[in-house]
């Protein structure tokens, strides 16, 4: 198995700016986004009609 170390390092660098408990809190928002079952896909220009 090959590991994308560049990608891993990039994500680790991004994470360095977020404290442990703040990340735990952000995780909640991300998990809630993942729970969204219905996503309406729209084309730019039609957004006013949503």
């Amino acid at each position: 198995m090959k590991y994308d170390l560049e990608k891993i390092d990039r994500k680790i660098e991004e994470r360095k700016n977020i404290k442990f408990l703040d990340f735990i809190d952000q995780m909640q928002d991300l998990l809630e986004l993942k729970n969204v079952k219905k996503i309406k896909r729209v084309t730019f220009g039609s957004m006013q009609s949503i």
């Binding site: 198995m1 590991y3 170390l5 891993i8 390092d9 994500k11 680790i12 991004e14 994470r15 360095k16 442990f20 408990l21 703040d22 990340f23 735990i24 809190d25 995780m27 909640q28 991300l30 998990l31 729970n35």
Partner: protein
């Protein structure tokens, strides 16, 4: 508005402290503490099982955690506790031990300060030992992330002592090749 996960994690730790249950946060949340950028749906703890009784379950229920099993005897709860938090869908696991880790003499634990509270977290080295003890592809990937994030902070004496105890020395040596 639903309870924030940060608050929830601290409250679970406070319950363990109040009931004098020795514990360590393990798994994905502990990896986040050590710099992992990956989210998790689980809060996993290892405890000293003999210190667990039904008061723990009652306290967790007050925080909104519902048991997924019918625990009729305390031994069942001590063997493996699983709860789901109603508002957030976070799954709480309470293990008496996991592959490569239990709270026995000689095991080191980190007490992370969180304001006035403390969270007891497995050490960086024990996180790697646990991953090396399971050693599926997913575990290798997760361990590599932590080695890349924390390689310079590893206590190699403790790591190799634990690796020997858990018979995962070759796997740990392989992981150390990913240190930056």
């Amino acid at each position: 508005m639903s309870k924030r996960l940060k608050e929830l994690l601290l409250e679970v730790c406070k319950v363990f402290d109040k009931l004098k249950i020795p514990y360590a946060l393990i798994g994905g949340c502990s990896a986040i503490y050590y710099g992992s950028p990956y989210i998790t749906r689980d809060m996993d703890f290892v405890v000293v099982p003999e210190s667990v009784d039904f008061e723990l379950m009652q306290s967790l229920k007050k925080l909104g955690f519902e048991p997924t099993e019918r625990y009729e005897a305390v031994e069942e709860l001590r063997a493996f506790g699983q709860f789901v938090h109603k508002e957030t869908s976070i799954v709480l696991h309470i293990f008496p031990e996991v592959d490569g880790f239990s709270l026995i003499e000689g095991i080191e634990i980190n007490a992370a300060e969180a304001g006035e509270d403390k969270i007891r977290i497995c050490t960086l080295e024990d996180y790697l030992i646990m991953r090396a003890s399971v050693w599926h592809d997913e575990d290798k990937q997760k361990a590599i992330v932590i080695v890349r994030a924390q390689g310079k902070n590893l206590n190699l004496d403790y790591l190799m002592k634990r690796a020997k105890e858990e018979k995962v020395t070759r796997r740990i040596k392989w992981l150390l090749k990913f240190q930056k």
